[in-house]
Symmetry: C2
Subunit: 214 residues, 2 copies
Amino acid sequence: MTAKYERGPYAKGRERREAILKATLDVFSESGYRGASLRAIARELDISPALLQHYFSTREELLMEVVSAWDDENDRRSEGLTFLAHWLVNIKHNTEIPGLIRLYTALAIEATDPDHAARPYFNRRYDNLTSQIVRDIERQKSVGLCPEDIDPKRVARLLIAACEGLQIRWLHSPDFDMYEEFVGLLRDFQLTPPVEEAEIALARALEIPDGEGA
Amino acid sequence: MTAKYERGPYAKGRERREAILKATLDVFSESGYRGASLRAIARELDISPALLQHYFSTREELLMEVVSAWDDENDRRSEGLTFLAHWLVNIKHNTEIPGLIRLYTALAIEATDPDHAARPYFNRRYDNLTSQIVRDIERQKSVGLCPEDIDPKRVARLLIAACEGLQIRWLHSPDFDMYEEFVGLLRDFQLTPPVEEAEIALARALEIPDGEGA
DNA sequence: GTCTATATCGCGATAGAC
DNA sequence: GTCTATCGCGATATAGAC
């Protein structure tokens, strides 16, 4: 998407949009949530704060779009896998981007406010996550790969909550291994197949490092 | 503590301190995190913002002390119980104070910043929680009330993370039953005795409502 | 469409008078 | 212990130049 050779009056604008999203993340990763003011981001890009707001009219909107872009990127990662395995691969990847996880979590809390712009985004996100987990578990059940007596919805709620809680804990102590903890929880629920699937995918990614050279 | 009949030059100051903590929570519950500025809290109390800062020199300090006071109050609640049961009772109670839980969670995220004043507080809190959970599980193990093969530390990490994640989810959708979800997780880990202990304590509290009249 | 300049507001924090 | 005044900063809105 947004090819390098794009022409027309909107090309520059779109490039700038992406540059802004990238800069936001950079500033955020380096200076933390409170440091990532619109002015600081504008400074990083050597543009005026007002121009920034020409592209993203509010700070909330900007932050939301950064998170949403990360979300889309995640969706594209390791597409062939089972959802739970796919999720695990993403959690492993999250381990390398504390700034983004911090942004995500901070936004999730802020969006708790009844009239926050990102509220519907999070509710949609939780719903999507839930239905994908449920579908996955039910598929595993039908093949006899996991016990019949587990409640897919309940497990989904628990997994989502655990994931967010583990992230918070990991942000507090970077040595905390949130990936391993999540794997452990999946094993507790006897959802071992996706774990093995993810481990194979991750091992393969190590052998053939495509984005590793950057 | 802090008796009504206390005398001396510090009495008024201490009363004011408590009034400030209470007002902070009120404003926070009503106007959310971003609405709870020092000015708004001062307005609520009909004092000047500067006076507020005479008692709590920074905003961070003030918020931290509100959370810390809630923590102490929790410690005093249902003291006779096993720690896990005690925790459950507190989670049930949390169900009625969304404003405080929101403050707690928001602060937990902010404290993720390496040089935030509340960082050591949270690390200490996590450590205390962990050791109490571990002690509890080990005691249960020694009496044969829970399976030998579970790793207490690992379960502690998972329970803490789950609790915080469930809170976030509950803040997003108030119908979400974080207490029941947590109970379910404890059952998954075959930690049923504390669940029953808590249910009995909660039922008794319903029969004899002591603080309910306020 | 792209961009700058400017103005207003509310914030946390400090200094100093009473 | 309490106030007023003020500082510097960030968020946001608007007017208008290119």
